[in-house]
């Protein structure tokens, strides 16, 4: 076959399959475009919530909020993840991509769905938010566009699975799958579950919107929609944890502390994450407490445990590799000597800390059956998921892009000075967004709400404390920082692709991958590299913060009205 061309990357030694490479490029570019579009909508949201600025009118605000959510939570994420899946299968295993034509069909469906969705929402009749809760009705094409996008993504997942089968059959690798690919497999399996759930609920909703189905049960919609809506965010978690492992391997030559622990933790995502979608129904009628407790605890918090294990083993494997390479002094020399000026590393590390401390802790706390009463549908919820999805997933994907885009396009990264600062700028802005939204939510500010000053209600108002207004103003300022950081990323990527210095077949001036640490190096000091005191200290700080914050919230809960 003429198009089955392989090239060996002069920088990494990876074997890139031509058609796979083109598909990775296309998906990565589409991802960045939708990030830029969705991020701009986010700017309008933040500047409207800032009560002193209050940029948009109500109608535009609700429309833009719908667009913001769908573009960044779904389109940017999934396009990037398809690129990650192709990278983890075809590139890491040195294998040809299964059925590139089907992959292009999937890509085309995703692009059509995403563009169509933006167009239909911009026409104004589909400002239904990402959740599109029935019986609030959108234009039929709104549901159809999401279905098209989902079918495209599903094709992408099966191309990935097909590629794994080919790699196994053609023996392009020895032994078991690499950990990073293994993580990508769990992401893809969760993606299939997610997309099937989406189909089960969006197809009848589409038929309802064109009048072919009489009624959609509201509670059934909520249950099944969240099997789609929440699980889609679990794809992100599995994907960005894989990216974390990939980056510590790239930057430090690290291998997991033990394959068994890291892989089992990934498997636990598949087994338990889906249960978590029920934590969106904790204050719904018609759902029993036993059902809520079992599911929201992911059957005894086993999926949380998986994330906390990754939270230890990712920096732990980095510490072990750094210690093996001689950074053995004290508790934190291994961390201090990390390449903090390299956006691939700094982005990954900020993602790790932000996801754990800001996103992880708050998610588990507000997912407790009773504590959820305090935060359901307040701004606390968007605050939490800006820490998980944006600070966690998006920043991890940005970090990966700094490494991958120059390799794929054979162009040198442009504006390296800006790139050096970008993860810090974006990370700081987004941490602010997460914290201040959560702060406002704690004060009772509702989410998806145009005006907490209640103009137009004939004088019936609720006086929010002044601190709530301050939180929203600080959130607006943080949004500006984050959008500047996000736009800088998009510009660097587009600029690199279009104007970066061509690399041709020559390796880059600076090596972009560190040779794997060998067993001899790990064992050089009597195997002491595997003792990871620094990471354990960080983990204990995390644990104490978690436990304190958890019990403080029970105390808050005890102070409110009796609820039975």
């Amino acid at each position: 076959m003429a198009n089955n061309i392989f090239r060996t990357c002069p920088d990494t030694g990876l074997k890139f399959h031509g058609p796979a490479e083109n598909l990775m490029k296309a998906n990565a570019v589409a991802a960045v475009v939708f990030l830029l579009v969705g991020g701009m909508y986010g700017l309008f949201v933040g500047l409207t919530r800032w009560q002193a600025v209050h940029l948009l009118g109500a109608e535009d605000f609700y429309m833009v909020l719908t667009l913001h959510g769908i573009n960044v939570l779904i389109f940017w994420m999934i396009f990037f993840e398809i690129a990650v899946l192709y990278f983890c299968s075809s590139a890491l295993l040195g294998c040809r991509l299964a059925t590139p034509r089907w992959a292009w069909l999937g890509f085309a469906l995703m692009v059509i769905g995403a563009v169509m969705n933006n167009v239909i929402v911009l026409q104004g009749s589909s400002s239904v938010m990402m959740t599109s809760y029935v019986p609030l009705e959108a234009h039929p094409l709104f549901y159809l566009s999401l279905i098209l996008f989902a079918v495209g993504a599903l094709i992408g997942c099966f191309v990935f699975f097909g590629t794994l089968v080919i790699a196994k059959a053609e023996k392009t690798y020895e032994g078991s799958l690499p950990l990073v690919t293994f993580g990508a497999v769990t992401a893809a399996i969760i993606a299939v579950f997610t997309i099937v759930s989406g189909a089960i609920i969006l197809l009848p909703t589409f038929l309802w919107s064109v009048g072919l189905v009489g009624e959609i049960d509201v509670l059934a919609y909520r249950l099944i929609w969240w099997a789609f809506g929440h699980s889609s965010q679990q794809i992100n978690v599995a994907a960005h944890v894989s990216v974390w492992y990939a980056i510590v391997a790239i930057m430090f030559g690290a291998k997991p502390l033990s394959e068994k622990v890291s892989r089992t933790a990934f498997l636990m995502y598949i087994l338990f994450l889906q249960l978590a979608s029920v934590h969106h129904l904790l204050v719904d009628p018609g759902v029993s407490s036993n059902f809520k407790m079992f599911n929201t605890s992911y059957a005894m918090y086993l999926a949380v445990m998986a994330s906390m294990v990754h939270g230890l083993t990712v920096p732990g494997s980095m510490e072990a590799a750094q210690r093996a390479r001689g950074h053995t002094a004290g508790l934190f020399t291994w961390l201090r000597k990390a390449p903090w000026g390299n956006p691939t590393f700094s982005g990954m590390f900020i993602s790790l800390v932000g996801f754990g401390f800001l996103g992880g802790i708050t998610g588990v706390v507000m997912g407790a059956e009773q504590i959820n009463i305090l935060v359901h549908n307040t701004l606390y919820v968007p605050g939490h998921f800006h820490a998980t999805v944006v600070l966690g997933s998006t920043l991890a994907f940005m970090a990966m892009s700094y490494w991958l885009v120059p390799l794929l396009f054979r162009r040198e990264l442009i504006w390296k000075g800006l790139a050096r600062w970008q993860p810090y700028l974006f990370g700081l802005g987004m941490s602010g967004v997460a914290l201040f939204l959560m702060g406002a939510g704690t004060l009772g500010v509702p989410r998806r709400h145009w005006d907490i000053g209640f103009a137009g209600t004939g004088g019936v108002i609720h006086e929010f404390p002044a601190a709530a207004y301050t939180m929203l103003a600080l959130n607006g300022m943080s949004v500006i920082l984050a959008v500047v950081g996000g736009a800088a990323f998009c510009l660097i990527m587009v600029g690199t692709i279009l104007f970066g210095k061509k690399l041709g077949d020559q390796p880059m001036a600076e090596p972009c991958i560190v040779a794997p640490v060998t067993e001899e190096e790990y064992n050089a000091n009597g195997g002491s590299a595997y003792a990871i005191p620094g990471t354990l200290v960080l983990a204990m700080v995390f644990f104490v913060s978690f436990a304190l914050y958890y019990f403080i919230n029970w105390k808050y809960l005890a102070e409110t009205w009796g609820i039975g």
């Binding site: 445990m305 009772g444 029970w554 009796g562």
Partner: protein, 180 residues
């Protein structure tokens, strides 16, 4: 070998676990048990456990029940829309309607008394957000959710909608008055 390449041993599930990992896994597992235990524990000792009693209803049926409740216990009207203020007997049933874009009626409750709330929507989904007590409950049409609330301080409370319900979402605000 790194995380980007196949593991050294094909049979990776027989590899030993490092001590630091084992320590952390044990701690995290116990913590998971503690958090799991906290929820049923709170059902026994805590005073904030949202009831799950739910009935199928229709907007028409629920509106009729709420109207009967208002007719029986209305004490006056208030506000720009002249909404009825209803003072039900302590410990009694209370109805509140969520609709585009009102909470109806206004309630007057006694501090320290427990009321049985009946909550449903006549149209789209809404979010019952009682401020500043910060109690948030999803309200959906066709289901009547019954639970109890016991005010612990007197004052004027607002009911804000925190589930997006169309263009007038931010106009939807109701009142619950708590008297000593």
């Amino acid at each position: 070998m790194s995380s980007l390449s196949p593991p050294a041993k094909k049979i990776w599930w027989n590899e030993p676990i490092h001590k630091s990992e084992l320590l952390w896994i044990s701690l995290v597992f116990v913590w998971g048990l503690v958090m799991t235990f906290m929820m049923p524990y709170w059902h026994v000792v805590g005073k904030q456990n949202l009831g799950t009693e739910t009935y199928k209803t229709t907007p028409k049926e629920f509106q009729a029940s709420a109207q009967a409740f208002v007719d029986k216990y209305q004490v006056r009207t208030e506000g720009p829309k002249n909404f009825p203020v209803v003072a039900p007997p302590a410990g009694g049933d209370v109805y509140m309607i969520a609709r585009l874009w009102d909470w109806w009626p206004i309630l007057e409750l006694k501090k320290g008394e427990t009321y049985r709330f009946h909550l449903s929507s006549l149209d789209w989904q809404h979010g019952f957000s009682l401020q500043p007590a910060n109690i948030n409950i999803q309200v959906v049409p066709n289901y009547e959710h019954v639970f109890t609330l016991t005010p612990n301080a007197s004052g004027e409370y607002s009911v804000i909608c925190n589930e997006y319900c169309g263009i007038g979402h931010h106009l939807m605000i109701g009142k619950i008055l708590v008297v000593d």
